[in-house]
Symmetry: C2
Subunit: 184 residues, 2 copies
Amino acid sequence: MNFCSNCGSPVESKIPTGDHLPRFVCTGCHMVHYKNPLLVLGCVPEWQGKILLCRRAIEPRRGFWTVPAGFMENGETMQQAAARECYEEAMATVEVGTLLAVVNVTRANQVHVMFRAKMLEPKFAPGPESLEVALYDEADVPWSELAFASGEYALRQYFADRSACREEHYFHELTIRAHREVAG
Amino acid sequence: MNFCSNCGSPVESKIPTGDHLPRFVCTGCHMVHYKNPLLVLGCVPEWQGKILLCRRAIEPRRGFWTVPAGFMENGETMQQAAARECYEEAMATVEVGTLLAVVNVTRANQVHVMFRAKMLEPKFAPGPESLEVALYDEADVPWSELAFASGEYALRQYFADRSACREEHYFHELTIRAHREVAG
């Protein structure tokens, strides 16, 4: 951040009075600009025991596989965001179920929240951000070709819970290398 | 948003190519500026059956009572944010426990996430954003003087679960009037 989004003057990094962290503060209108973590919402869509994955058409991690996920938008709930991302990336309509995983990706300033989801019909196709979309049996999941560690974590917890006939939720923190952290 | 935070040129609101929502786009460097929901993290701190509440020293809702909560910062986990806010607002050290409530405050573009928490000692005091801090028995909670609907929702679920000897988590959506929605 170089300029104030309110008045266009340059900003400087300093700790505002009464605060304890450096913020971007406008040298003109003195507005304080906060930077906060972004929410990435996703789901593990299931159809008759198989899981829907998308192969990414965009960077980061183009060509790698992921559960449908993306940045939550203003005005929607977490569950609506997860369903929307699934429709946009995989053209699949899902009923969002229970909370599966919350992954704090602290180095990327993101929180990834993953839900279980049921596909309402076996209809899917690559959206603009996907090269292909496919249903996978657990045994066939391309683990070494997954795009993001948060998605891998969610899938592993999903299968572990499914084998144990339970639906718990799991917290995890990721601080590993950048190209495995940032969702698109 | 009026100006580009990157180059200082005016921004215009338009739908970027390949997108489906209007964004602020710079007329100079063409950077797209996204606006996404903010995470508010809080907890219900308990000491020997009593709950710690703070009376707000700042707007919005100055003079009203709330569970300790505030905006999540970059670089911390949800649980770290909840514990930090509790220390800042109530000078109380807590061990953050299970997930209690996720409140989608869609009209304010916020997601409020509340955890259960145990106070490690009966030590607390008003931080700079609180007028006073006090431990309340369930029967004495000042329901009509609570600052925010999300905190009230979390407290009601907390007590209901405690009576039933369970620790579940609950999703809720709030679309009510602004002064009950926005946490400080």
